[in-house]
């Protein structure tokens, strides 16, 4: 599916508005859209709404063999999926450029910055380590997927709890959540990416571009930073030439934004923790806003089931019982399959009827092809065929010559060959 093309007047208008320091939704140049962070029912699930952009991240873990050159470090695996739900331009399966770029940026932001202590994920050095897998699903694309994905990923990692493990000599016991409380990952710092969009060859910049702004931008600068003002990753794409002062200014803006967002994540984590302690339900279901008219919720309901058993019994009693035995197929010679009853060919006599049938039902050439295929399989099963027929259903005429040394197969052969001829003939008639 293709996305709607951008018209020239939209492009011109957006650029003109940016020159006047005005944005489409009334934000200031350095403003983020409203960020909403919620967590799911199980540990490690995080939903992030950045304006209309929505993403979901889920963290899971499993025990695997570690990499050979790093035997006592755990493995982190990131997967950002551009779902076709998020935008009509995203297609299922194909790794588009944007998908590769976002995945790479997410990996650099989170793995190369060593925000997670991978050595604590080691269980048995050289044999078993935890592999932490982060899946980020994009639900709605309204621009700036990268920032939303990074917030969701780090939020999910902070929220995640892995099963507790104990080692006794050679034995490794993994405890389920009911036996022992799962333990959180050890996270050193929280890198968060901030995106800057540049317009007019670097003259104007905007923070957190929305989808339409992304389409007209010249280039994008992504700075991943943590709240201790350490830059974890910097990436500039689009080929814009940036001056040193611009990059310094961007990093200052980024540090302010990162501290705000980190504050938001911590607050959301705290809310979730208190909600779970209080024993309340949490998760996507609870985060659904109830006051909107587009949302509705009901409570646990019982269903009237008084006459379920009676209807079921009556249906069973009135239904015809299936046959207890199935007629077994007869096999004339071992190694030979058979279709039909092996009687004398009656197709030649019924040719006219078959033509009428064909005309009446509009010429079902599919059936013919399957008949042909069936015959082909039948022939294949008999190993003594010397000439393999090539059944090309596109050919108008078919001269089929079959050589069978065994006499027992003759009735079948005549049946099949004349059948084919018959079918071929009838098809010829149809094509006329």
């Amino acid at each position: 599916m293709k996305d709607t093309p951008m018209s020239n007047c939209e492009r011109d208008f957006i650029l003109k508005a940016i020159e006047e320091k005005k944005r489409l939704d009334g934000r200031q140049t350095y403003d983020y859209r409203k960020i909403k962070i919620t967590f799911g029912t199980d540990y490690g699930c995080c939903f992030v709404d950045l304006g209309q952009t929505r993403v979901m991240a889920q963290v899971s873990c499993e025990l695997v063999v570690p990499k050979e050159n790093r035997p006592n470090e755990g493995i982190m695996f990131f997967n950002l999926e551009l779902s076709p739900m998020a935008s009509p331009a995203f297609e299922q399966g194909r790794q588009s450029e944007l998908s590769v770029k976002l995945n790479r940026q997410l990996e650099r932001c989170l793995r190369n910055s060593k925000c997670i202590d991978t050595e604590s994920l080691c269980v048995v050095s050289g044999e078993k380590v935890w592999q932490i897998r982060v899946d980020v699903h994009t639900l709605n694309n309204d621009g700036n997927l990268m920032d939303a994905a990074s917030v969701a990923a780090i939020g999910a990692l902070c929220h995640f709890r892995r099963p507790d493990v104990s080692i006794q000599g050679e034995e490794v016991t993994v405890y389920s959540p009911e036996e022992r409380d799962p333990i959180p990952l050890s996270i050193y710092h929280m890198p968060i990416s901030v995106s800057f969009a540049f317009f007019q060859q670097g003259t104007f910049l905007l923070v957190d571009p929305c989808e339409r702004e992304e389409r007209v931008m010249d280039g994008l600068l992504m700075i991943a930073m943590n709240k201790h003002r350490e830059i974890c990753s910097i990436q500039s794409s689009g080929g814009i030439m940036l001056l040193k002062e611009q990059v310094m200014r961007c990093s200052k803006i980024a540090s302010v934004k990162v501290s705000e967002i980190t504050e938001l994540i911590n607050k959301a984590l705290l809310n979730d923790k208190t909600a779970r302690k209080a024993g309340g339900r949490c998760g996507f279901a609870e985060s659904m806003p109830q006051e909107r008219i587009t949302a509705l919720k009901t409570d646990q309901t019982a269903v009237e089931m008084t006459d379920v058993s009676e209807t079921a019994s009556s249906i069973v009693q009135t239904a015809v019982a299936p046959p207890q035995t199935v007629p077994s197929p007869s096999v004339p010679v071992p190694g030979v399959g058979q279709v039909g009853e092996g009687l004398r060919n009656t197709w030649g006599l019924e040719e006219e009827e078959e033509e009428e049938e064909e005309e009446s039902c509009g010429g079902d050439s599919v059936e013919e092809v399957t008949k042909m295929d069936v015959e082909l399989h039948q022939e294949d099963k008999s190993r003594t065929v010397d000439v393999v027929e090539i059944l090309d259903s596109d050919e108008e005429e078919e001269e089929v010559v079959i050589l069978y040394p065994e006499a027992t197969k003759k009735p079948k052969n005549t049946g099949s060959s004349s059948g084919q001829k018959g079918a071929g003939a009838s098809r010829k008639q149809k094509k006329k």
Binding site: M85, S87, N140, R281, F284, Q300, V303, E304, T306, D307
Partner: protein
């Protein structure tokens, strides 16, 4: 919201149902948000509830309808096996039009299981996939963890068959309808939650349908009990699991997907139970659409 339901339903619901509901939920005095607290204490001060508390089993969802039990015992004795139908739905909720890009979107929640659906269509179709006289429906199910595998493909096929049977595809030849389902949390009855979310999203997109459909899951436990809308724990311990797609006009079965072994009688009981249960879901669809159009724009 719970408080208004109880007040309006006081005369209609049987007392045992009423007390069971209030037993499982505690309501704030403001009634704004209901928090589910699984304890025998109820927040409402009413002698009616307290007298019935003792009859209720706190943990199981066993229905306390006396008449039902006797009739089932009667059939149980007749057939020689213990069958009772535990028919209760977990909380369910939905939200429509929650995503700005898709033409139609909905999220459906059943207890803890939640699925989000997005629909695009009728839109451009690739030449290789176009069908000359009807729309090409593509269903995608994305699991929460990992890449889609064989299980997701079979779920996609089930959903697609149901949708193709109820949508009027011949109104949009040579165009594509894409339905994407994202699993947000799986706590049992996933396929029926997918079906319900798909139906609401198709309605939200305004696609022409000949009828609505809903999904109901039944699990047969090891001792022959039929549970509708099972949780993941109940599913794991069941000996058979069935999902049916029921249509809204004549309550017929449009699609069935079963796992495990069961007898013919049990199958018919599950079908009948699903048909009964589907009425609740269709009423819920109606209520949510009514609420949606309640504003006079």
């Amino acid at each position: 919201m719970l408080s208004t339901r109880i007040q309006s339903g006081k005369t209609k619901m049987s007392e045992t149902q009423f007390s069971r509901l209030s037993n499982l939920h505690a309501v704030n005095s403001s009634g704004s948000k209901s928090v589910c607290v699984r304890s025998a204490k109820s927040g409402l001060k009413s002698t009616l509830i307290l007298t019935h508390c003792s009859y209720l089993d706190r943990d199981s969802h066993r229905s306390a309808d006396g008449e039902k039990r006797t009739s089932q015992c009667a059939t149980g004795v007749f057939k020689g096996r213990v069958t009772s139908v535990q028919a209760a739905f977990r909380e369910f909720g939905c939200e429509q039009t929650l995503l700005s890009r898709p033409d139609g979107s909905a999220s459906f929640v059943q207890g803890d299981t939640s699925v989000m659906a997005g629909v695009y269509g009728p839109a451009e179709v690739k030449i290789s996939k176009e069908i000359y006289d009807r729309a090409t429906l593509e269903v995608l199910v994305h699991p929460k963890v990992g890449l889609p595998g064989v299980r997701e493909r079979s779920q996609e096929q089930c959903v697609r068959e149901t949708c193709e049977a109820s949508l009027l595809l011949s109104l949009h030849p040579r165009s594509s309808l894409t339905l994407v389902l994202q699993v947000l949390h799986d706590d049992g009855a996933l396929l029926s939650c997918c079906l319900n979310a798909a139906c609401m999203a198709l309605m939200d997109a305004g696609l022409s349908m000949s009828c609505l459909f809903c999904g109901v899951t039944c699990a047969i436990s090891a001792d022959g009990e039929i549970i509708t809308d099972p949780t993941a724990a109940q599913e794991k311990e069941s000996r058979a699991l069935m999902t049916f797609a029921i249509d809204s006009k004549e309550r017929r079965v449009m699609m069935s997907s079963t796992k495990g072994s069961f007898s013919v009688h049990e199958l018919q009981q599950c079908v009948a139970a699903s048909q009964k249960a589907s009425e609740k879901i269709f009423q819920f669809y109606r209520d949510s659409v009514r609420r949606r159009y309640s504003k006079n724009l």
